[in-house]
Amino acid sequence: MAKITAGIATSHVPAVGAAIDMARTDDDYWKPMFQGYEFSKSWIKTNNPDVAIIVYNDHASYFGMEIMPTFAIGVAESFEVCDEGYGPRPVPSVEGAPELATHLAASLILDDFDLTVLNVLEVDHGLTVPLSLMYGTPDKWPSKVIPLAVNVVMYPQPSGERCLSLGKAIRRAVEEFDEDLNVQVWGTGGMSHQIQGARAGLINLPWDQKFMDDLIDQPEVLQYKPHLEYMREAGSEGVELIMWLIMRGALGDKVDEVHRFNHVPASNTSVGHLILTPKEGDA
């Protein structure tokens, strides 16, 4: 039986990817941020999953406006890295987990989640920056990946309730998979940031920290937070945080906090990072 053993949340700022790719992680500007991931990089060495389900959003990198899925799941053998306008990031391509991914996609559709199934997908910084933060610069990513792309760019985004329920359904589906696999769910994006308009540069660290508290302790309440509140309090791009709800839903009722980190700023963004594990003995 496959099992969800941990959830990871992290911002996925493109400039963080650039800092890694240009070996600037020791610069004065970047060092404090990357230090917050040192624990995580050693933690994952002993807690490496067979498969990471990475919940992320595409940033007009693979999907344009011709076709915009609410939820899309990648079931391919591998996923190439997008050219987002600066040339593709110099990182390994991403290995898929087709058996678990087809099981998961089918299970979720049977549970009335109206997924779009992708046999081809190129992934952008939303997915590769979290890999870089957790794994550094290996020749090959140490885990297989199932990309789960969420529309957070165009209103209406899926509701908080829908995201939390999707996470719960992912948990059930993984536990019904016959092979013994160690599976993690990663929720990416956020925290507060706004990268457009006269209000650009908005950061709301107290709000971010309260969001983390609620995510850990009372996701059932947090799920009803309207999108407008994310946008008002955490900036127009802060609404990415609904993706963390999917991760949280996949962990069960109670969780233990293994690691927590905040840093301001990375480029235009408040960086937040969590490692959570399902509480022992919790169903």
Partner: protein, 132 residues
Amino acid sequence: MKPDFEQFKDLPGTTIFTIEKGREGFQLNEFCMSLRKEENRRRFLADERSYLDEWEMSADQKQAVLTRDFQKMLDNGGNVYFLSKIFAAEGLSYVQAVSTMTDMNVEQYQAMMLAGGRSVQGWRSKKERDEA
């Protein structure tokens, strides 16, 4: 549930990209998507006007691109993730491009970010700012 596209208008200095905006900006954003290819980036930078004329964009949209008026692009249906392909083609970062939409220059903007970013105080709502 009836969609409420009006609710976002109360946010000061913010343009929310809705499914309606997506229709309005479709050709502008398609043009931006074309810049994911190195060859197109080169063609665009070599002759912006004629590259833009390959797209069924409005005159306002084209003018906004030519003058790098990102706020005007947002007003005409652009979304910043699409628009990023324009400034990426020139090797500019998000901070460099985004700061042009504010009333700061890039140094001031960077200093604000280093000091913890823009406070939400006074920026929650147009009503609060007497802009409504």
